[in-house]
Assembly symmetry: D2
């Protein structure tokens, strides 16, 4: 069950058909999940429609708080292009997953791969997961890519398996918004989708559509961790809006609005990082034309994308929480499910 099914409506824009990042045509998501005693972790991949090494999708990134170990953002900033899948995993697994993406790119593209920019982002799941084992290996990355599809599960799965959010169980969440631009005859419909790997916050700060649910739950005695916040949230955005990398970066900045509205403070030890790409005006690594035509959105219409980004991010975080089951991990650590908990006490935020 996602937030919508609990009667929660974030913002005013219409949801995409599935309310997932994969509403952007061609985008696929895959998971590989490890649930083995103290090893509760995994990897999630977001795949653009075509082989990104060939297409070089227009992309950007934005770092709000760089307490994080992502790889791949520097080149995106300079070239404005994405040439690999985007993988989300745990903090100490970034090296292995990056190496797996490189191997997969070689397997797929052969001798042409003498340089390759894998994108791997992470949150710290060490409360539930025995993180030092760095258990996400080549086979898991391979599995996540092979099983990627337009429909995917959310919650305590893939890279989100061991994640904690507002002291409760976090994980992978997603949402999307439809964007109509242009007048009547020229009208065109686009979609913007977000996927988050969410792992931040204290229970007392949790807000659902503004309502201070965390405070209520805490006063109600809900068990939560007293561990210091090691935080982090990774935000992945995909859209088919025709955008330049500068415009994508502007949109990514608005993910912070969604994070803030759920109660996040971007703590010192937290890594808030966003990356995004558009499937419009796909590139071509072998393009030899000196000049290429590209479609670019009218800047005055960016407000629609900004609002969609904020709404999607806020809702994706809630969707991760509502979708996640309770998980018991390393050393008997437990993160309780918000959805399971609220199933018992009812929905305290219907205050409108």
């Amino acid at each position: 069950m996602k937030a919508t099914e609990w009667g929660i409506k974030i913002g005013r824009m219409p949801q995409g058909d599935q309310n997932q990042i994969t509403d952007v045509p061609g985008v696929r998501v895959g998971h590989a999940t490890l649930k083995a005693g103290g090893r509760q972790t995994g990897v999630t991949v977001v795949l653009p429609p075509e082989n990104p090494f060939e297409v070089q999708y227009t992309a950007a990134s934005e770092v709000f708080n760089g307490f994080g170990k992502s790889i791949g953002l520097m080149q995106i900033d300079t070239l404005g292009t994405l040439e690999s899948p985007i993988a989300l995993t745990n903090t100490l697994n970034v090296g292995r997953v990056a190496d797996a993406l490189i191997q997969i790119a070689i397997d797929q593209n052969g001798n042409e791969v003498s340089t390759y920019n894998p994108v791997v982002m992470e949150c710290n799941d060490s409360y539930l997961n025995d993180i030092q084992t760095r258990s996400v290996d080549f086979q898991m990355v391979r599995e996540a890519m092979d099983t990627a599809s337009a429909r995917f599960e959310e919650g305590a799965i893939g890279g989100g398996r061991g994640m904690t959010t507002f002291g409760l169980k976090g994980g992978i969440g997603s949402a999307s918004r439809k964007i109509e631009v242009g007048e009547e005859a020229e009208s065109q419909s686009y979609v913007l989708g977000v996927l988050v790997q969410t792992n931040f916050g204290k229970l007392q700060d949790l807000r659902i559509d503004g309502y201070p649910v965390g405070e209520k739950l805490e006063n109600g005695g809900l068990k939560q961790s007293t561990e210091p916040d090691k935080g982090s949230i990774i935000v992945v955005m995909a859209t088919d809006l025709p955008l330049s990398s500068r415009q994508i970066k502007r949109i990514l900045k608005r993910s912070m609005i969604g994070i803030a509205r759920t109660g996040g403070y971007m703590g010192n030890g937290s890594g808030e990082v966003a990356v995004g790409f558009t499937t419009a005006s796909p590139g071509d690594r072998k393009n030899e034309h000196a000049v290429t035509e590209r479609d670019v959105l009218n800047e005055s219409l960016m407000d629609l994308a900004f609002r969609a980004m904020a709404e999607c991010t806020e809702e994706s975080i809630l969707n991760a929480m509502f979708s996640a089951e309770t998980v018991v991990g390393t050393e008997g650590h437990v993160r309780e499910s918000l959805g399971e908990r609220l199933g018992a006490v009812g929905s305290p935020w219907r205050w409108k």
Copy 2:
């Protein structure tokens, strides 16, 4: 009346004694306001304790959305120091106010001023103010500086005279938080304060401590503008926490959290810009020692400052709105006061 007096409590940290930026010892704020028919504008200055040209306060800036015409931030980014007062005014007056600050610096410091970095930030008050007159002149800047004090008015005053917020009257608002660091005997109390010049948002989006007041008011028929959003909010932070410029920049980033929680989306045509300084470890332009000792806050304590920054920004925006009176400006344009309006209908946000 500020938000507190309406029973609104933003966050959990204790307010400073006056709940203004001037709770930071030595910081002063001054206004000069023009209320003359179609000319509804002004200037507000934030002054550090000592002559900033001599002291070179540690400072930083942060640009969220740079649809704005501020002057002075580039040098702050490179040198990490502030050497002028911070002036807030209207968009087309930046040049004149910068020139006035230069003249005042020459008057004050004499021949030593061959280079000087005035800091002037702006929002667009052209709905209420006949902005093309650029009415804020040297005398007004001089007046704002001469009358600056540790107690100052908020609302439709100074640079905030002509500003609009969430379709209602905006202006100048302020708030502060106390920050206790260290254990017992070593315990030390600091204060972090914020002043905003606020001029953004649509009524439908306004939230007060999470509650969708804007939606309620709109449904209740409150008159608001249908003008396109020309937006902007300027955030000024002062503190006596011992901080490096890198740390100040990190704190400034959290002002976005406060903006987001009031309902802001950082629209395309909006300028969200923050600048801040610390009064701790003051510098000395004439310092000839090769190496100087500086106090720096333990990075793990930054969370306190982050939270204070988010709370202060959110509350400052509300304080600007609650303090502002209804203003009639150029071409008969009107911006209604939230405080006046709610005085009639009561406080719909007391839902906790």
Copy 3:
């Protein structure tokens, strides 16, 4: 006489027809110069082909060392567009010149100007100029714009009147390079031009095409200032290459290469700042189409633009120096002309 006429050839790319920034079709440059005893200063404006307020040229900026007081770069960074002329003047005149540009924009565009982003950049001419007088007024800015043309003088003129370079006379310099892209039938010729206002460096560091001319001249007893370096160089780039703002920013970064090769070290008190725009794919402020087609250069061809930028910047600095006459300014201060000096001793750098 420019560097070429001294037998100096910087790099390998062909010069534009005039070897000036105005080789970019439609670009014009104008000066207003004050030569009045201790007041030796002025303003130089670079104008794009059409009214920039209407066209919104694609643009970017780059700050190497932000000890400077420029206004207008923040908005260019966010929106990627230029809507005003680019004015170069002295440090303490930025406010007045910005105000003049605003007034001129109002005069030209009328009521539509409720927001406007003037771009004014500066160097510190206080050694030769009585800078506290802030002598560049509205009339001078007006004059510079009115007299702007496709042919313009270089040297101790306009904003460069009071500037110092490598302890000798600096000022305004310019250069351009032709760029051929595409194969044969599809081949297309573009031009990239640079204009600098140059005011940095110590004589001992001056290199001309690698040759240590400064060291030679210093040993030869050439009189130079022992003043501390207050530095700065402003680099303006124009081109008709079809570029995104991201690409322009990449090109601007290569101006540093040219600065370094003349002997610059980007000193602490120096402001090295670049701004650039393309005349290709002009925008339209009133464009209401949701999506617009734009031409964009193949990223793999950027090397040509990078090399052109480095060559143009290096040569522009030399052109400023070779073109500048000796100037006597405030308090009898003198900056000797490199050209005049070398006219006597001959050209010591012809070592190839």
Copy 4:
């Protein structure tokens, strides 16, 4: 033989005792090198004096052209600290080397390592090295760290084994400068050192202390590659100057000056990235004091560090080239040694 032994003197500042980055007390450098037919690659590590995970050295990074796959810079930018060794290797090996650094940190620091920020930087050695094998494994990283010492070899060794510079053999190079600050009694001596992994440029552009050696050699028929430039140079800086991370970032920017003076253009496909740290005012991960005193260099003395950085970078590149032997690699590819070549033809740059 390094550049000095060829009679080349870069700049005016005095070299450190060994003219290596390890002149900074406590800094060590280690290599592991693979010379096995088509596999010509390796890894080089720069180690700060103490366990960086515990000390958290003040650090910064600077990206000139981000066509590169470095990991670890994002966190350095946010926190201003370095907590791992700095490893240099080939492009497709970044994942494996990062994973090795994580394992070594776990081995060394035990259970406390639930988050760790490995710093791995790379250049593309695919012309000489069969890069798809990703041959640098855990054992090699371990070996590089175990053998790190205050004296180390330069040239075609470690991470530099397969690198190409100006069409000739590149690799690892280093240089250092002494910096005296303060007057007489208070005078204090510091050192700033640089290590580069250099892999960029075309022969025709090579300059040695300004002299166009590349052009001469090319005209003399020296064999060079016609491969497209896949470029890159990594610059590592260490110093014992007391600096903030903001100041280190300013210093790193001046490495570009050294690169430019050797003839580099920062090509599109090149990654120019710098990282640096100071051993002064070491931190302490377990520090629980709310406020710590730090020494900070007077900003007006930064010019000395800027000049040292530019000189060290320029000289380090030359040292890499002069120290490197000719290497035959994959598919029989050859990169000729500049030193060997010039040993035959003599030193054409002694033109002063």
